[in-house]
Amino acid sequence: MAKYMEKGVVLSQKKLCGGIYDLVLQTEHIAAESRPGQFVSLYSSDEAHLLPRPISLCGIDREKCTIRLVYRVVGYGTKEFSGLEPGDRVKLVGPLGNGFTLSDKKALVVGGGIGIPPMLETAKALAFSGMKREDIQIVLGYRDICFLKEEFEQYGTVTVATEDGSTGTKGNVLDAIGAYKLQGDVIYSCGPAPMLRALKAYAKEQGMECYLSLEERMACGIGACLGCVCKSKDVDHHSYVNNKRVCADGPVFHAEEVEL
């Protein structure tokens, strides 16, 4: 898979809810080469802010060559991106990372917080692969306001958990899975570390295959700097020291492959 450095052109941007933005970019090559679970690095135009901001792909349109990024404003870079308007250009590099390896097994698609967006393209890919709707169980965990939920409903059965109980099960995604006794043979997931840790334990207990998409501070984003490693069960093929690179060997890992 080739990687490209481009100037993406903003096609649209809207605010989904407090602090969450939905940005669509026209790319030259990136969309055509992208798959669910991969990410792009966006760059600030401010010279004081050097490092790329890795943002997962919420949507990929290979024909129109557009990508959709749904992200939370957490710092300088994302604040800047939230001000982009149609026609503006933004430097990006991608597609990066491995993405999800999908199968036709009965799936639990689990997203928590700002880990929800990449699961949308993942759910879509599963649905488009011809899987039955009832074999795609989608579980979304929010703090309070639900974003992207209606879009997920196109691709499978959606179960929601909210921390404040305002929608669905009060609690986290594990609470929702338990409450509805959701079943599956494989878990695809992205979300905060505690959620991934709980899913890993749950999958092990249930004898399920489980894939986790991790997050870590990155510098190069392409596997060269070794900034964003995670502890792995097996030796990694870069340094042979049980440190896999989140940006290049991941961000998606088999749950048993990594220590959380």
């Binding site: 004081a48 050097l50 590099v93 870590e216 984003g221 060269a224 700097c225 070794l226 900034g227 490693v229």
Partner: protein
Amino acid sequence: MNTSVNLCGVELKNPVLECSGTFGSGMEYSEFVDLNRLGGVVTKGVASVPWPGNPVPRIAETPSGMLNAIGLQNPGIDVFCSRDIPFLKQFDTKIIVNVCGKSAEEYIQVVDRLAEEPVDLLEINISCPNVKEGGIAFGQDPKSAEAITRAVKDHAKQPVIMKLSPNVTDITAMAKAAEAGGADMISLINTITGMKIDVNRKTFALANKTGGLSGPCIRPVAVRMVYQAAHAVNIPVIGMGGITCSEDALEFILAGASAVAVGTANFSNPRATLDVIEGIEEYMRRCGVKDIHELIGAVK
């Protein structure tokens, strides 16, 4: 127009390298950069055995810069020789291996192992602030620097570059110590030790507490030290520290650097090395400079 420089018998097609640790062994960046275009590739530091490095977070952004505390994670010299050197040999560029160790013996093991390898230059890292033993301990005391230089030189089959730390009171004393120990060249600056605190989480931004500061923020310190070092010794100086574009690189060359290296800029612009090479050529055309040597040390 001549952009080639000869570093102790090694002819670089141009004076542009990248900084150890920012470019791996070039594999990942070869998707963005034709490695044949570079004066040389400086590898990530390699030790006698694999090193796991530090816990994460290893990276933090700072104003016009970044902190890193990778801790010299590397696969050790055996994997390096069987994988990274053959990869680099495919390209028409010079191979500069950065060597790290926790003791003189460890440095020497790596240097000995590289003796028969098709490597052009050795860069000895005595200035990494992110490992507890070795590294910077050799790089902050002139006597230790001279001793480790001499020990390495006794074994090295390739010309030796000593990479100096900026975390010292007097960089000229360190440069002279390396020269006295027999160094063929010096390179500087490595990162400056820094710290960032996350005031909302009330903890250190890096798991290692401190890290090495790099990027344009440190360029004025780097230019000053390269200028001072170049005036203190008679061996070639390789300049680095916050180079993002050809103007930055030219600052170092005018200050006395015979070659330069691009580091953190690779992260913000994977094509940064090529931009620097092309920019230097354009500057030389615009200013009527026929040979890059007219520029080396031209600002006194």
